[in-house]
Chain length 282, copies 2
């Protein structure tokens, strides 16, 4: 079985390493819109061969979309236009509603599986690919009833073989949850970084004084705009809901601090501490 990965950055590159490790593919093809990234991916041995976009639909049995989410819907349609019913296309994008709506009426929709393996780091590009990514994380599959059973099984087998668990959701549920547990964290980090960089103009001071706590909180601020702008735009309404709620809660905290309301501050911190129950289970 031959697989082709479109998009050879952090996600596509790490997925390539996993496919090879578990011998899930005979020949691994790759495509990347950036000639530099494509060449780098080949040099790093992430893929066996770079191929032209026009050859993908015939060369690969399974085609994986691992590009930024703004181009996934159009690429999905173009691939569904070209493949025959023996092939499977799936994606690895962080948003699902826009994609699932756009492909919904395509006559070959049943050969597509909408997937989001929930893993990532703040780094980007083929050099950021890591071995044993994805292990222990969840893959969300959306609208599986619109995909052929054999296509869903094949995709599930790939994700479970590389160490992931499978969850099922509607695209709307997925995008709401993703806004809360992933997308908002990136905004809080981006803005924390800009706030601190704005004030602490001497980066040496930040460097010397910042402990592990700051570093952890601001880590995601290193994330790529090319990946994150499309995600935030596509999940705009959910992200705005969470962002408004977050700002509202910050305002309440600010007022409590202004008024020396220790009881309210304590209540908030103790409620926040409950996140321990969630994280410590992992």
């Amino acid at each position: 079985m031959n697989i082709c990965i479109i998009g050879l950055g952090l996600i596509g590159g790490s997925f390539a390493l996993a496919l090879r490790k578990y011998a899930l593919t005979d020949r691994l093809y790759g495509v990347d819109a950036s000639p530099r990234n494509a060449a780098k991916a080949l040099e790093l041995g992430l893929v066996d061969e770079l191929i032209e976009w026009d050859r993908v639909a015939e060369a690969a049995d399974i085609i994986v979309l691992a590009t930024p989410v703004d181009v996934i819907p159009q690429l999905a349609i173009k691939l569904l236009n070209r493949i025959d019913d023996s092939r499977i296309v799936f994606d690895m994008g962080s948003t699902k509603e826009e994609l699932c709506e756009i492909i919904s009426q395509h006559p070959r929709r049943h050969r597509f599986v909408a997937a989001h393996p929930m893993w990532g780091t703040e780094h980007s590009g083929p050099e950021a690919a890591v071995e044993d990514a994805f292990v222990g994380c969840n893959t969300v599959l959306c609208d599986v009833e619109q995909s052929d059973a054999d296509a869903v099984s094949a995709v599930e087998r790939i994700f479970t073989t590389i160490g992931m668990k499978i969850m099922y959701m509607s695209p709307a549920q997925h995008d709401t949850h993703a806004a809360y547990v992933s997308h908002i964290s990136h905004i809080t980090s981006f803005i924390l970084a800009t706030t601190v960089l704005e004030k602490e103009r001497e980066s040496a001071t930040i460097l010397n004084l910042a402990g592990g706590g700051f570093e952890s909180t601001v880590r995601l601020a290193k994330s790529s705009p090319d990946m994150w702008i499309p995600i935030l735009m596509q999940n705009k309404y959910n992200v705005l809901d969470v962002l408004r709620e977050y700002i509202h809660q910050l305002e309440i905290f600010r007022k409590a601090l202004e008024r020396d309301n220790r009881a309210e501050i304590r209540q908030t911190i103790e409620r926040a501490n409950e996140i321990r129950k969630v994280l410590d289970k992992k």
Copy 2:
């Protein structure tokens, strides 16, 4: 030389382990207001002996205050009231202005060294003490010109021996910087946790979907209210300044997202990405 640590939690306990590792003390005494924590610290071997508060000023050559910051100023005054000029008192608190003001006119002020070793984790209590804490981090010393040279040297020697670098600042400078590089991170994490917990009432969903990014950003939300309420209250005006600026920047980002202003969002994320230059130097 005998040392006594007042406050045997995360900071005092980790410091005890470091003092022992580098053989910086003959006998290590401990005091904790909580009988449970005191007993636990002894059981864990963090200190050699628990002593009564009234015996501290005579038993120890060096006395270390590692309690929550709200009680450090009073304890500092009480110790300075009782010690003779052969002894040294220093603190490890996260705020410095309030402390330095309160002790400033004490006739034995010169035997006190105001210190902030910039290290911590989100855990608390004697069980949270870790070996090799502090290594590679900075200790800020404030108002050293008000301390005797021998006292400053002794404290510097302890911190450098356990692997720390020394920086010098005024208490006001310290508290401003600490608000930016440490205190605000805790607020952004506390509020991120409460926002997500409020919405995602089924913690299983958070558990299943949250990746390493969320975990990193929200890690500090596990931090103890007993430690953090006093810090936020004592550094209230600096913290409020940063918090207002942070909320302001979030509002700007929210409006850019509402208006699909990709160029502005890109500019913000690219500015945030510059934190990479700071963190990657560490």
